[in-house]
């Protein structure tokens, strides 16, 4: 089905668990199937499907969801890494994933829909059953929160690198 890949991609990032995400998408598509007579022809089918999924996701509640993905805290061998220029373009995937995992469900939801899936703010408002203004502010705050976490991560990494470097020199 054309939208099942997008649904699964977003579900995996929301639930942080592949099996739970598949269950969520299956439930979404079955609910859509059962209530297809409620879909208004000519309206946005993608937003409708995601609305069903987010309703199911929020209905499950945190307890029913899986534990967050465990991320290794072992620092990679940063001493071997080349110096990174300022800016975000070279931030590695692990750092982005870790920062993204730390965001709230609400911020992850708008970033996944708006940034990754290319939803307009109006489509997000439809999918999340929220006013446009709330979507816009969540998107701005979500972007800022991600940047703050990445900046903190970079600063921590730099401090760890500096400490490791000075320890190496002393040895």
């Amino acid at each position: 089905m054309p939208h099942s890949r997008s649904l699964l991609r977003v579900a995996r990032r929301l639930t942080s668990d592949g099996a739970v995400a598949e269950d969520l998408v299956q439930e979404t598509l079955l609910r859509a199937w059962r209530s297809f007579d409620q879909f208004e022809a000519g309206t946005n089918i993608r937003a409708w499907l995601f609305r069903i999924m987010f309703n199911a996701f929020y209905a499950q509640g945190r307890q029913a969801r899986s534990a967050p993905v465990l991320v290794s805290l072992d620092a990679p061998d940063r001493a071997a890494e080349p110096e990174r220029p300022a800016g975000l373009s070279l931030i590695d995937a692990a750092e982005v994933n870790r920062a993204f995992e730390e965001l709230s469900d609400e911020h992850r939801a708008v970033l996944l829909l708006g940034v990754v899936e290319g939803f307009t703010c109006q489509e997000m408002a439809d999918a999340l059953s929220l006013p446009m203004g709330t979507v816009m502010s969540r998107l701005s705050r979500g972007r800022q929160a991600l940047r703050d976490r990445l900046a903190n991560g970079s600063a921590k990494a730099f401090r760890a690198h500096a400490v490791a470097g000075s320890a190496h020199k002393e040895a």
């Binding site: 089905m1 991609r9 598949e22 299956q26 022809a41 800016g87 975000l88 708006g114 703010c121 972007r143």
Partner: protein
Amino acid sequence: MNCSDIAELAPLYIAGELAPRRAAEFDVHLKTCPACMRELEEQARLDGRLREIVLADKTDVARVDRRVRESIAARPEAGTPASAQWPMPRRWAIAAMGIAAGFLVFGLGYYFMLGTRVARVYADAAADHRMEVVEQQPRPAWLVDPAEISALAKQHGIPGSEVLALASEGYHLERGRMCGLDNRAFLHLVYSDGTREFSVYLRLRDAERLPGAIRETVSGKPLRTCDLGSEHIASFETPRVTALVVADGSAEDALHFARLAAAAL
């Protein structure tokens, strides 16, 4: 418009939803405020990185699709009532219901696909590129001499130098003609690097804005992308022209050419 307005309206601007007049005011502010421009470029860069990473996730939908089909096939309420089921052997009944569910899911999926909103200008550009470049259906009025193509561009207010500027970095201009996209006249140019062909559609910029979300910025020009089946579109606006790049190889091909074009124009 001040910096606070820019911060507030950035999500709408990036998503291409700002009304044309407000978008023009937004552009004017960006030109005069390096801090806001830097901020927007940084946002676009982080958006691009996040998109790249999440889109690289492995998502195998085959298992989910199969489970959905099986669930639909196994539910009497989704089909006919149990009392009305045909008196056929159970395994044949299950197989028939499975096939029926497959058709129904496919039909539902096709309807879902049709329900997705696609900007008309992008749909027209993808169809035109497929017909004119991929399938190469014979059409008159193609010009192949760069000087004649430049002259045609000038007739429609597009500086000929811009047409030639795109033929850099290993790409050469193959042919050009006028065409219509979304009831608007566009200059259709075909560039090639010897192995791949790219369509570039140009028209003089007016108050109408390109639809779609901003993927990144190149030399201060927001780049938008849209994938339509095997056609991939990247679009941008300069102060003078609106440009659409269409590639049939990959989204990255379209983006790469659009980056060069946006930097050159």
